[in-house]
Amino acid sequence: MKSRADSEEDQTPALFSERPEWSDVVTVPQYETDTPIAPILYSPEYQDASDYFRAIVKSQEHSERVLDLTEHLIRLNPAHYTAWQYRYETLLALSSPFETELELMNELAVKYLKTYQVWHHRRLLITHLRTPQPELKFIERCLQVDSKNYHTWSYRQWLLSHFVDNEDLWRDELDFVENAIGDDVRNNSAWHHRHFVVFGCGVRPGDEDRARVARRELTFTKQTISLAPNNLSAWNYLRGVLDTMKLPYSLLTQFVKPYTVPLDPKRIDIVDLENPPPPPGAQLPCVHAIEMLADIHEQAGDKDNILQAVELWKSLANEHDTMRVKYWEHRIRDALNSR
């Protein structure tokens, strides 16, 4: 990790103990027992900054130079949650412009994308500033760096739910998530976000007709599956739509069947938007489709259907998904016993 002294201000001494404007501070050392567990062999920069930070916290100073010190410390250890906490309190005490702070965060967030504190701090700032709109672009930039980053997606969901009545903020969200899935159909975070947008946070204007929304979601998901059938994220979403809307799995029978058998090279495609067929060259049969078809049969519940489900589970156990042989055997036992 590069300290700020390395990268920006070569003329500023690296250590606070060498800076005349800090000479009034009596440092507080780190106290330890004689037998510490996992002591860290600190760098001189970190030890110096920590000594001064403890002193500042002890004297309860909230001044401009505290912002310098905490930024320095955070760059050396972005997981230093007390430095973040004290920095935020100092910003409040000084009525420091949050816009400037947000600019600094734009740099730090990308640098420390996987640090909780970076995102927590940002939430505090945006809660005060109430400027969610530019955040969408910022989040897109972060997702370009790491398209599955958990914090980034959580932040977007927080933003949208925190400003749930902001129609401008929400307007293009479905397009955004459609693009994200288009970029990578296996990005489960994007699928999860779609469920949040469509079902997780109230009903958006224009989406009041829930039956139409369900049809739209099923069509979208089936189309995506028809491009890349062996994609568990899409199949899970398909189940999620049906479960959420309390619709029977049998709605999918016609769509699922062609995915459960080897590809017929001589087949002639009929354009059927509701039941898009597997693509040429697809790796079939698809495990997730067989599982789905078995679940359809199990839901039907009568003896013939259960036996058909059992045959499908057997094919998964013995041939198509041998890693989960014990799971499929469990499903067979379970279905036969509950009859």
Binding site: I40, L232, Q283
Partner: protein, 447 residues
Amino acid sequence: MVLIIQIKRLVADILSILRQFLWARFAKLGPPLLPSSEETSENSSSRRKMDEIQLPPFNRSGHAAHARRCMSALPRSQIELDASRLALAFYNLGILDLLGDLNDVTAPPQWQKDGWINWLWAQQTHGKYGSGFRPSPFMTLHPLESNLEYSDYDAPHLIMTYTALLALAILRDDFSKLDRSGLITFLRACQREDGSFMTTPKDGENDLRTLYCAFAISAMLDDWSGVDVERAKAFIASCRTYEGGYGQAPFCEAQGTRFQPKSEPFQCLRLITLSSAPRLLTGGTTYIAVASLYLAPSSTGSGPLTAIEKAQTVRWLVNNQTAVKDGEATLGGFAGRTGKPADSCYCFWCGAALKILKYDGLIETKPLALFLARCQFKFGGISKFEGEHPDPYHTYLSMAALSMYPPSPLLAEEKPESWKFPVLDPLLNARVETAEWAKKNISGKGQ
């Protein structure tokens, strides 16, 4: 825009067909219609060969040495652990506990154990929000023996408190120094209106991990007066996702773990190699949710999950075991989220959740052990996957997974006993003897 996406998809499709064709032609992997390696279809002859795949010995002494090195000192590249040192202590002691290295002839001398116990108790701190443990003395403003009240910036930390109690139980401390009523006050100070818990009373991260710690502490105390169980359960329910797993907070994707930053390459102490800052207790949010629900005292006659919920969660968990073919071997580690690669720590998080739900019989132990065998670093320690640097977090959780899912002794030609571990308590995440000691001595009721 839609047109561009469609063109993109078409190009991707054509490329994938081409790739399959080339593979089939040149790698002699058979026709492209066969499922790919990730879908793990294999015929019986290759399965027969798989049975011949042998496990290498489990490098017990190397992993113990890794834990002991990390106990003695960490290089400056690990500065990010400053605010979570106690969790690291727990993982290191947990490694030694599972290896049986704290009681046998190679055990550290008692004076060393007493030194560790001293350091752990020195982190217990008291003040206006009650008592608990801090991560390390990194923000302590007064000498440790001064016994002054903590400031708002050195308050106890909920995750560190859970790990401290287990670390002390591993060292068989008698907990006579534990401030039990202060601990109850502290738990109350951390719970929020929505039922979740903050890491520290004033501020801090709040997600399912902290809730689990509050529940585990209450279970060890055998006293639930510090938490509002029903509100906490409602928070857990709000984190459930359509996939059947749990996210860290309402609306969040179901997952295993929370990732923390990767550290820079080491500049000194080359022997200690950690891949990344160990997560503060971490994740496996689905484990965390399930374990919390099963730790909680039941208020009604019904189980913590409905039959449908349980079936959906089990399905999500078993689907996370991902098969990767490597020559004749099938490696079967667990992923933390749908569509992600396997990582050794999820072998624990997913495996332990299945164990709690009593579906541990559904797991194939051989591919799991073969995956974990590959994660062993040659100088000791286990990494998240092959080729990464090890750390105590992945080392401990891999061993904890093996204690629940031991491979058949027939699999290892050489030193099959090296793969044997004591039984684990999946709810508290410690070996059974340690969990029993914790419950007896932390509650103070068994003394």
